[in-house]
């Protein structure tokens, strides 16, 4: 691993040439796994993440069933090869916490009372990580849930905002996450602009926090459009072949 670069922002441009309010290149594809009920693949800069959804299906073991609603289970998992130093496979403190916050970020959009006693499983596999994997994971998971035909109030889009070299920036990449002063992942139901996840690491002044929030909401808009496009795209290309 290389050491800290002297400056993270040079002449208003970031290390990869982006402006402070720019997203990394984003690509989302829906329905790429045949065996899962719903799936999505997302690339956000160097992040590569796969999300798969199973269900609603019968809940086993039975004692975990909820008589009046469906249960949502999420698993966020990093592949051993997703980071520079091999990650020990399997759940750890970090991934279990992230699984929990992702579940809580997705729950508000689902009509879980439609499927009492059932379970919906969401798997988020990080193939390659470059900061902002939890928010990209949420973005992919909500596309996968829609792809599985599960009724939803809205999609959920996630992005991180933060501060590097004293500048409030959108969508931190690894170097900025590592050497920056603040990182704030946020997930939103874009239609009504309701926040379902907000975490923060580092320090913001109240003014910077508001700036970061504004930036994040702007980023969310673009991600939301990409999500909708991805869902529609799945059904359009075949039409072109004819």
């Amino acid at each position: 691993m290389t050491g800290k670069p002297e400056r993270l922002i040079v002449d208003g441009r970031r290390l990869d040439g982006r402006l402070p309010d720019e997203l990394r290149p984003l690509r989302i594809k829906a329905g790429i796994l045949k065996r899962a009920d719903g799936s999505a693949y997302i690339e956000l800069g160097k992040n590569k993440i796969l999300a798969a959804v199973y269900g609603p299906k019968e809940m086993h073991p039975r004692h975990l069933q909820q008589a009046d609603v469906a249960v949502l289970r999420c698993r966020y998992n990093m592949a051993p090869f997703s980071v520079e130093e091999r990650k020990r496979p399997g759940p750890d403190r970090r991934s279990m916490e992230i699984s929990k916050v992702i579940r809580e970020a997705l729950e508000p959009v689902l009509f879980l009372h439609l499927y009492p006693r059932a379970v919906i499983d969401v798997f988020i596999e990080i193939l390659q990580a470059d900061a902002g994997t939890r928010t990209a994971g949420i973005t992919a998971a909500s596309v996968a849930l829609a792809d599985a035909g599960i009724p939803m109030r809205d999609l959920v889009a996630g992005i991180s905002a933060g501060k590097v070299d004293g500048v409030v920036v959108l969508d931190l990449m690894k170097e900025e996450d590592q050497w920056g002063e603040a990182d704030m992942p946020i997930a939103v139901m874009p239609r009504r602009k309701q926040i379902t996840l907000l975490q923060m690491d580092g320090n913001f002044t109240p003014e910077e926090f508001r700036q970061a929030l504004d930036l994040a909401f702007k980023g969310i808009e673009k991600i939301y459009e990409a999500q909708k496009e991805a869902l529609k795209e799945k059904y359009l290309p075949i039409e072109g072949e004819r």
Partner: protein, 226 residues
């Protein structure tokens, strides 16, 4: 006010119409406005708007004809898998159509684990326990044929408008089809080749369910193979 056109592809959270319309299947109401809850095709009929989902599991409903597979037995009947989050319960008397003394008769002679049955959903209660019945004509144990499983959301396309697709499949090949709304379809016929082409046609319908002009393409395909 209507915000979509008929058969437009919509995604969850898409505003469809406001309060003067009736909220149909695949939609939800929020502050008097109707939104889509699923990915699907908007369907506008006079004063109601709904969304036909392109994906999703089967949810049992009273009166549905389904094809189930026996996964377990209990003293008075069987537990039947319905390709759904909820399993069905079939009582002996609802299969044979008469009173059965379970102490004198062995239930194994009616159905075994792994057998397939055509059944009708008699009742779904508030706890989503599903009661099946299979004593009527045309229902009961399946004794032969080929079972095809497709996504339940695509079954309406296999049936077609007022059964048009089903008619094409049956008339061009001479096979008999039993369509379970849970995505299982039984194909019966004498010629294995014909059965194969029907199965292939069904899988093609599943793949291209969201495209228009499907009935004509299937008809052309099957007639070419004849």
């Amino acid at each position: 006010m209507l915000f979509v056109s008929n058969r437009e592809l919509v995604v969850p959270g898409k505003l469809l119409a406001d309060e003067e319309y009736q909220a149909g299947e695949g939609t939800f109401l929020e502050n008097g406005k109707i939104f889509s809850a699923v990915v699907g095709l908007a369907e506008v009929k006079d004063k109601s708007v709904g969304v036909i989902s392109l994906q999703g599991r089967y949810i049992p409903r009273q009166g549905d004809k389904v094809i189930g597979i026996v996964i377990d037995t209990h003293p008075f009947g069987w537990i039947v898998d319905l390709n759904s989050p909820y399993t069905g319960n079939l009582m002996v008397s609802d299969l044979v159509g008469r009173k059965v003394d379970v102490f004198k008769e062995d239930l194994g002679k009616f159905l075994k684990i792994g057998d397939a049955v055509i059944a009708e959903v008699r009742k779904v209660d508030e706890r989503w326990r599903v009661q099946l019945t299979a004593s009527e004509r045309g229902l009961g144990k399946i004794r032969g044929g080929r079972l095809v499983e497709i996504s339940p959301a695509k079954v309406p396309r296999v049936i077609g408008r007022r059964g048009s697709m089903l008619k094409v499949l049956e008339e061009t090949t001479g096979c008999k089809l039993e369509v379970g709304l849970n995505g299982r379809i039984l194909v019966r016929g004498k010629d294995p080749k014909k059965i194969n082409s029907v199965v292939e046609a069904i899988l093609l319908i599943e793949r291209e369910a969201h495209l228009s002009g499907l009935t004509d393409r299937i008809k052309a395909k099957l007639e070419k193979e004849r």
